[in-house]
């Protein structure tokens, strides 16, 4: 291997390669083993990811705050361009490596209980493959490999969403997710191509590092000037558009967010790992990697899209009845926060929120998984015709499932951003910086922080609604079907352990010893530029207080609405309710406009193909057939006929002479007589 920095550490390199390779090995072994290995394949994957976690911990301890360096080796050469395969070590890769393996471990343990033994082999093949792709994605050092693993992550997500491939919904959902992600992939690919044309390298450090190529390029006279090359300025915008598409598709931002709620058709443990904690964070991670590329206008666009997505998803989450869909929209909303934080230059806060969100959203999904599992159990036992994910059937589960309840409350508080949780630290960081950012600009930029504040309030409301509907009050199924017997619990230790672990990780001590000030979080400090100045101003005191007051008020309001049954909420017939309930009609719009247009276009092409092209070919075949028929006729009746005639003549003559040799003595005599007579007659005549 060739090094480009002096302080290369071969232990770290080996550990990283092993950390990414172990899940791949587990996946390969599971793939090759026969399908009846059952729980053994599950534990194999758990061991692999445990190994990855330990190795990632070693890597993290050596790389964190130790500067940026990379190792690489030539992979292949096309023309004069050599593409390298290499690893990049900086704070971001080390953190993501640790985060992904840390989230994946509890999910793996949980899955060993959650997935049926017969399906575990296939499930863990996919899951380990996903872990490999994601772990590799965060440590590669060039755009080509980044793109490759980006695709693999999308592909394994596709496999896992459609894990229960006999369900129609799952198949539709994974197709939708795949197609949406393809749109993003096209964006990323075009951005990579533009960057390569401009800078002649795929290397992330050379491109985006300190004093890298992107730092040294600028706009002048409508040209995008790089040290060695120049392009019209519009290409920079296209590159941004491509990256944005990629981010929007992977991180489920408006307008490409609709696949994520549908992706909830996959197993809940998959939703927890992929569609809440890790894969959807890949978009934010990509933003973090290519951050220096964007100029201020583009960052503003990111901020606006992020803020709008956060608000949109939060309003939709208000009225959904599907437990997992609420969480899915909540995920979209929180991802909107992260994108917006990137846009307002709160790079550190964005990544901080990514990490904290990964823990508490994974926790919430696993809790939802336990609840759904138990309700499904009741459904199967009594053969009820209900949707086990519908929160309208739940209620009063607090006493039956205390650990799940506690874990959900911790996760929800972190999601709302109540003090003492990790969510408070990261979310308030974003909000405060949003206010600071807007202050230095025109007045209408204030819409963004206000919008995000409003979103926080909405978050508090839908979270409170979820908690109250699921855990408080009376169990609704019991009211609808009075004769069912309930014996539901928190489940086995494989359910409880991940919940407890993740709940502890969702509290503040993991990130900061000071539960109130986000600036003191070690993780936050790890991403700050060296010359960052802590600006103490009024927002640092007001915003957290404001949020908490609003949150508490909103939670109380939800309590009043849902538990004391006061009529304080919008009517279910109002326009706003319908807008929210039908996901702002975005899916309907896509269905009506995009899908129908595409289908109509395809049908037109199909018609054209069938009628015009096929018609032409049919005419040609008809002409050919006619010609062939004529040739066949001529062959049959003229050439063959002539030959047949000859054979018939020959045959006739032959038969004629043959008939004299019939073996009958009298015929011989007879013919002799005739011959003699003929001879005599001829002699007489001549």
């Amino acid at each position: 291997m060739t090094s480009i920095t002096p302080h290369i550490d071969s232990v770290v390199v080996t550990c990283t390669l092993l950390a990414a390779g172990l899940p791949l090995g587990a996946s390969a072994v599971n793939f090759l083993l026969p399908g009846k290995t059952g729980r053994a394949s599950g534990w194999l994957s758990v061991l692999a990811i445990l190994g990855s976690l330990i190795l990632a911990g070693i890597v993290f301890s050596k790389v964190w705050n130790a500067g940026e360096w990379s190792v690489q080796q030539a992979w292949f050469t096309i023309g004069s361009t050599t593409v390298y395969a290499g690893l990049l070590f900086n704070n971001l890769s080390a953190l993501m490596l640790l985060l992904v393996s840390a989230i994946a471990l509890p999910v793996h343990i949980y899955s060993t209980a959650y997935i049926k033994a017969a399906e575990q082999n296939r499930y863990f093949t996919y899951l380990s493959f996903f872990c490999f792709s994601m772990l590799a994605l965060v440590v590669v050092n060039n755009l080509v490999m980044l793109y490759a693993f980006w695709e693999l992550v999308g592909f394994s997500s596709y496999l896992l969403i459609g894990f229960w491939f006999t369900r129609d919904g799952a198949v539709k959902a994974n197709k939708k997710a795949f197609i949406m992600n393809r749109i993003g992939d096209i964006g990323l690919l075009s951005a990579i191509i533009i960057l390569f044309v401009q800078y002649h390298t795929f290397d992330l450090t050379l491109l985006f590092g300190q004093n890298g190529l992107v730092f040294n390029s600028f706009m002048r006279n409508g040209l995008w000037m790089a040290p060695a090359h120049q392009l019209p300025a519009v290409w920079q915008c296209i590159a941004f558009g491509g990256v944005f598409l990629a981010v929007a598709a992977k991180s489920a931002q408006f307008p490409l967010h609709t696949w994520l709620p549908d992706a909830m058709e996959g197993p809940t443990s998959v939703s927890a790992l992929i569609h809440a904690a890790t894969m959807v964070a890949a978009g934010v991670f990509l933003l973090g990697r290519v951050y220096p590329l964007f100029n201020t206008t583009e960052l503003d666009i990111l901020a606006i899209i992020g803020c709008f997505t956060a608000f949109l998803a939060a309003t939709i989450a208000l009225t959904q009845n599907d437990l997992k869909r609420i969480l899915a929209y909540s995920t979209i909303s929180q991802l909107g926060y992260m994108i917006m934080a990137m846009g307002i230059d709160a790079y550190a806060s964005s990544l901080f929120h990514l990490v904290t969100h990964a823990f508490f959203k994974c926790l919430l999904f696993l809790c939802a998984g336990v609840i759904i599992h138990e309700v499904q159990h009741i459904k199967d036992e009594h053969q009820l015709d209900i949707d086990p994910q519908n929160i309208l059937y739940m209620g009063g589960l607090r006493k039956k499932m205390p650990i799940t309840f506690m874990a959900t409350v911790v996760g929800c508080l972190a999601l709302v951003g109540i003090p003492l949780t990790s969510g408070y630290l990261s979310k308030d960081g974003i909000l405060i910086q949003a206010f600071e950012w807007a202050e230095s600009r025109a007045w209408y930029y204030e819409i963004l922080p206000v919008g995000i504040l409003l979103t926080s309030a909405l978050t508090a409301f839908y979270v409170a609604r979820l908690i109250f509907k699921v855990f408080f009050g009376e169990f609704k199924l019991k009211e609808i079907f009075p004769d069912i017997h309930l014996h539901i619990s928190d489940g086995s230790w494989a359910y409880r352990l991940p919940l407890i672990l993740l709940a502890l990780c969702s509290l503040f001590p993991l990130f900061s010893w000071n539960p109130l000030l986000y600036e003191h979080a070690w993780l936050f400090k790890g991403f700050l530029p060296v010359d960052y100045l802590v600006r103490e101003n009024v927002y640092h005191a007001i915003v957290p207080a404001l949020i908490n007051i609003i949150s508490v008020f909103v939670v109380y309001w939800a309590y009043a609405v849902y538990l004391q049954q006061r009529k304080l909420v919008f009517s279910q017939k109002s326009f706003l309710f319908k807008l929210s309930y039908h996901h702002w009609y975005i899916d309907t719009f896509y269905q009506q406009v995009v899908v129908k247009a595409v289908v109509a276009f395809s049908q037109a092409l199909f018609w054209f193909d069938r009628q015009v092209i096929d018609g032409l070919i049919h005419q040609l075949t008809r002409a050919g057939k006619l010609l062939a028929g004529m040739s066949a006729w001529a062959d049959r009746y003229i050439i063959d006929g002539f030959l047949l005639l000859i054979t018939q003549v020959v045959k006739g003559i032959g038969s004629f002479f043959r008939s004299f040799q019939g073996g009958k003595v009298q015929y011989y005599l007879y013919s002799m007589l005739i011959l003699m007579l003929t001879l005599f007659i001829i002699k007489l005549l001549v």
């Binding site: 003595v665 009298q666 007589l673």
Partner: protein, 101 residues
Amino acid sequence: MITLTHYLLVSAALFSIGLYVILSKQNAIQILIGIELMLNAAILNLVAFGKFDKINNGGQSFALFAIVLAAATTAVALAIVLNVYRRYKTIDPGKINQLKD
């Protein structure tokens, strides 16, 4: 006055009948009879020509030889017919066609 021509006409008629019998009958014995008829036509010719010959009784004595020989050949032919019958269970010459290739 019976002339040579009358003898020859009778002889030719006999010969023709014999030929017809040989060609048309489906029984070996009848064919044999046909052969005898033809032979007798020839002997009749011998006798007729002998009557008008300068040397006396040359033709008649030759005819006697011919009759004896005819009797001998008929005996042989009957033996053959008997053997044919044993072998093929028929004496229809049309059905005994193994002479063909």
